[in-house]
Symmetry: C2
């Protein structure tokens, strides 16, 4: 992730993907090692594929890439790797898109809000805490205990808005 005053803007701005993806991969590997979880070749490659774009990819898109690289070509190959990565907080699932996106800062707030740009299709993670607090508060007044929340916004990122990609 490049230098920037704001992580959301930084995600959408042009920047050195190689570097930010590499950093995230190292961090993921370290965290998984701590947990005693195995980052096997398929799982590692799956994470890399997601990190190579900030986009969300469908399971079958991931599968195609894996198959092209010599891994199995049946859906469970991709779904299993993705499920593993999601359950260890390395990847998030986007409900609106039926798609998956790599987490750029695993371990921090693992329940972010997602900002999906409808023009460039990149996905940023925004601080979920204040939003969840608001939701929890409103739900709580009705006696509802929130356990998990999905917060996903579709809109236009600053880069696309500026670039006339409207």
């Amino acid at each position: 992730m490049p230098q920037s005053s704001n992580p959301i803007a930084a995600t959408f701005a042009p920047h050195d993907h190689q570097e930010c993806a590499h950093r995230a991969l190292d961090e993921a590997a370290a965290r998984l090692a701590e947990q005693g979880a195995r980052l096997t070749p398929v799982r590692r490659r799956t994470l890399e594929i997601l990190l190579e774009s900030h986009r969300a990819l469908g399971a079958y898109e991931v599968l195609d890439r894996l198959a092209a690289e010599g891994f199995g070509r049946q859906p469970p190959v991709a779904y299993r790797a993705l499920e593993f990565l999601v359950s260890h907080g390395m990847v998030h699932r986007l409900q609106r898109l039926n798609a998956f996106t790599a987490c750029l800062h695993p371990g921090d707030d693992h329940h972010p809000a997602f900002l999906i740009c409808r023009s460039c299709d990149k996905v940023a993670e925004a601080a979920g805490v204040p939003i969840r607090d608001s939701l929890t508060e409103i739900a709580g007044r009705g006696g509802f205990q929130v356990e998990r929340a999905t917060i996903e916004a579709v809109g236009l990122c600053a880069t696309c808005a500026a670039g006339g990609a409207e």
Copy 2:
């Protein structure tokens, strides 16, 4: 909807569905008439089916019921009716569940947050405005313009929590 200090609690509490569903249907019919939209038999019945439970139903569940009542038995029958109702604000689509739920107060805040009880599967609508404001604010700081937001929480409603349905 029964008398209650809180609409969320009211949704989950036992109450006279017939009455609250009937009210919502009348309101929907009136609103559609205003808009010059046609509430045809399939559409009307689809809305009734959703109103009969506060649960979210999958398109194929709705389709089965429609087919059993003499309507077509092909997926587009259900999808078209649901799409019509969604686009007119009478029904909401829940991304987490790939399912649809009737709107209990069409016209009010058409972008509510959804509270889904994992025990009884009922769905309540909570005021979405404060939550969306929070999201819009955070996103805006990163230059992201929110256009549409999905806010869905899974948890436990007061009725199930009290009833030991844990």
